[in-house]
Symmetry: C2
């Protein structure tokens, strides 16, 4: 997608192409991050680039545990946190540690497509269930998909690509389901909560803390979005302290972090994020971008669930085939991703982690596109 | 090993424990690195923490290609280089891309023990052959181990744990062997050259460029040792431009870098190492440490091959079982790693990437240990 965007920009000029394909924020990291970087660069700490324990610095893990403790009310300690090479790295570590051959992992569509690789990389089998029409979890469908081979269920809230936030009630129901099914099959089923967008929520919405709602939960996240550091590959895994034999699970995760070749999360970034766990990019600015696009697109006839978080819109495709729509949009220099890329044909994704000015410039192009397609229908 | 060292230091005092277990340099990165970090921190470049192409920044890859071109005489371009999360990350990417189920990878003992995981992680089978008594490659043994299932041969020079540097002649012979066997079995056998110690060589020794000597070679390395940045996880893969369908191989490597969750090498580190490819830590200081330990240990009766590179000594264990020797040494507060940890029982490894003062303080302890064990025999 990088390459296609670059190609069109070379032809039409950068300001005439509206690239909404990538979850690669144009935001800069918060000022507190930049100050911390400047401080450590001008006053380096001896040994700050060396290996540390494969789980990461105790200070960083402690700072994260403190925030998780406050937010979830659970007894999360530094030993429950493992620093990772982003959430993508963390998910690979989790599935390497959890999965035996033929184990199944349940995913709710639409979903971040790499999940399938993260599972099959380590011998597992992805099992996709459809989420509800409002993109909330369909607990009945998940329950029906659980078998004696199910090892884990991935959830992702705020969701990529829909922006939907799962309610505390649905997490409680998922907890209940997992407890029952774990008892029925005599083995633990884990809920793996991928939540890099947890801080990016709007309209006073709060993301319910998964560690507080689900006993057998493993949280994985990164600072790619909330601190706008995607290229730096800094994230973490936090395991629920209520998991049986939790220390053994942590040992397995740390071991897998090492043997998969991550070894440890980048040292300098670990140090920098330790002190800014309550910081984030400007969420209000994202909300303005969401509103700008959501209001315009719905006013010209596009249909979509109003997202409560993340920086994505996931409208219905006005054409039957989402690929056809993406091609039609491209003729207006609008670049979006087809829903089939997220296991959900008939929709398309807009990533609005872009400059507001580009969004504003894109609105007439969307209007022309809607007109061409005969919207509103 | 981190934990055991810490435990003894807590009991006896940090200056009374001689910890030679870890390849975790106490050196700081070169001044040029620190200056580059300070410069970028005080004058940040917009977008410098964002995702880039999964292969890494074109500028960094170009700078590395230029150095490889000069050193090997081969036509290495930026497109032949993929930035990785250290060499450990790079090796996982390589084996994920290369291996089909049941494929075999040949390793020469003694070897870095994680190689076995890196191979089995991706469905491969490690096949260990013994190197010669002087720890040079045993080409006859390697030839005998090649079967129709062999996909790759790992070499590691300067070697961990022996410090041995493979000669240009032996690389030429390996090239010849691989060409013959590839033709015989009708499939490419790759030589994967893990070379993080390539710049750490002594006595005017030069490491022969593998890309120049072996057509089907893939180099993987990191700046963990030569720039003393192990915690930052910055390395790269460079493929021989002479490999058939080299572009397809590169595509596969870049794809695997993404789906294994590395996504890209840490952005800031990529930027920093681009301009300092000819820099390194103080090699003369390492040579002095090697000489200090090698001269003392041989003078009191230990036997070993004199290493030409890396920062390891690999002496014979004076006791039949290397584990017994390691325990005997521990009673003198000397911490070393048994050779069985490298697939070579009957030896032990000393990592001398430590402060010179600690080496000097350790010499009487080694003398007392040698006396206790009745050396010289």
């Amino acid at each position: 997608m990088f390459e296609e965007g670059g190609r069109l920009k070379a032809i039409y000029g950068a300001d005439k192409v509206y690239d909404f394909t990538l979850g690669n924020p144009t935001d800069e990291p918060p000022q507190a991050f930049r100050q911390a970087l400047q401080e450590i660069a001008t006053h380096p700490v001896p040994g700050m680039h060396r290996y540390m324990s494969n789980a990461g610095y105790a200070e960083t893990r402690g700072a994260i545990a403190e925030v998780l403790r406050e937010d979830s009310g659970e007894d999360v300690q530094a030993d429950h946190v493992i620093m990772t090479v982003g959430a993508g790295g963390g998910l690979n570590v989790i599935f390497k540690a959890l999965l035996d051959p033929e184990d199944e992992v349940i995913i709710s569509a639409p979903f971040f497509v790499e999940y399938k690789f993260y599972i099959t990389n380590h011998g597992g089998t992805p099992v996709v269930v459809q989420s509800r029409e409002d993109f909330q979890l369909d607990l009945e469908a998940i329950g029906a998909a659980i078998t004696e081979k199910t090892k884990a269920i991935i959830i992702n809230s705020p969701n990529n690509p829909t922006g939907v936030v799962y309610s505390g009630k649905s997490l409680d129901q998922l907890h209940q389901l997992v407890e029952e099914k774990s008892a029925q099959y005599g083995r633990t089923i884990y809920v793996v909560s991928d939540e890099p967008y947890a801080k990016i929520v709007y309209d006073q919405v709060k993301v319910p803390p998964v560690l507080g709602h689900i006993r057998n939960s493993i949280v994985v996240t990164s600072h790619s979005k909330d601190l706008a550091l995607p290229g730096e590959r800094i994230g973490y895994i936090a395991v629920s302290p209520r998991i049986d034999q939790v220390a053994l699970l942590v040992d397995g995760l740390v071991f897998c972090n090492r043997i998969l070749g991550f070894v440890n999360a980048p040292a300098l970034m670990q140090r920098l994020v330790a002190g800014i766990q309550r910081e984030s990019v400007d969420i209000q600015a994202y909300q303005e971008k969401r509103d700008l696009l959501y209001n315009h697109l719905t006013s010209i006839g596009f249909e979509m669930v109003k997202p409560e978080g993340a920086f994505y819109l996931f409208p219905k495709s006005p054409l039957e085939k989402d690929i056809d729509f993406v091609e039609a949009a491209q003729k207006h220099n609008i670049l979006v991703v087809p829903g089939s890329g997220f296991g959900q044909p008939g929709y398309f994704r807009i990533a609005y982690c872009v400059d507001k000015a580009m969004i504003e410039r894109s609105l007439p192009a969307f209007t022309a596109l809607a007109k061409e397609l005969g919207l509103p229908k």
